[in-house]
Symmetry: C2
Amino acid sequence: MAQPGFIRDVKLVNGVNLTQLSENINAIRSDPKLAKFKFRSKNKWIFGGHNQITIGQFYGTNQEHRLNQTFKLEADEPPVLLGEDKGPNPVEYVLAALSACLTTTLAYHAAARGYRIDSIESEYEGDVDLQGFLCLRDDVRKGYQNIRVTFKVKGDIPEEMIHELLQISPVYDVVTNKVPVSIQVEKA
Amino acid sequence: MAQPGFIRDVKLVNGVNLTQLSENINAIRSDPKLAKFKFRSKNKWIFGGHNQITIGQFYGTNQEHRLNQTFKLEADEPPVLLGEDKGPNPVEYVLAALSACLTTTLAYHAAARGYRIDSIESEYEGDVDLQGFLCLRDDVRKGYQNIRVTFKVKGDIPEEMIHELLQISPVYDVVTNKVPVSIQVEKA
């Protein structure tokens, strides 16, 4: 796969390096193992609803990668949910993940198909009924019941194509479909 | 529902205000509409894989709430995925959301049941095969194929109870089950 750091002519559309994208796709076609990525994070509980997330490495293109910087994120709850508002809460992070993925997917896949995009803005709203989390009702789910998304896009791309490209988003897949999660617990 | 800001005796377990929790539950039992929350975020595309998330308000307990501060998050891709590493990437934000939610759920529900917890640390790893996102293979999903989680917990709580409480997490529900997402597009 292409590595950054050397000088050459590249084709940029929507800020996406199409030269590198095309090289990546060709490399994966000849060695599909290059496409297998493992993303990682760590979490440390602080107090009540406050905890810290650390993200600093992943595996992909047959090798370990360290990020240039280790990203630290704070999560907390607002006072009405017994927290101190030191960061977004967990379900707000779901909206952040979905929004980042839909946006990047649209920018990348529009570029790959030659559509110029000038701006992308989007808004998210999701419904949670706390009777689920508080175990007050078995028939109310604990997570989002629905998520509504509105996109405003400026650029030379048809509306139907925008809808089609947004469906390619990996986090859209995660949220609208099931992902198996295995949990191991070590008691210290 | 209880509001912060006045002085009184409260029962704190694991940093969780059990007095307020109990008052919230009683309030919701008498008016279930108090439990209906709407969480929100906004996203603005910057360039390539870089975009910015803003989180600053939500609806719940029959009223609008503004956070004390507006949270801004950066999302980007690493260079090998055509980005400039200006923030975690979208699928890493999914792990952040899941980790924050499992941790808070364990702290809150252990507190509600009287279990003392001294520390919680956890690690996350999820598999993505980029052949899905790159539309190179129809039989490879675009999002996570699997997520593996390991918890290390110190405290006076049985291992089976930890497993049971983690299942209550709203983001665990979002990731392991389906959430309907509706997308509206406005072309400018």
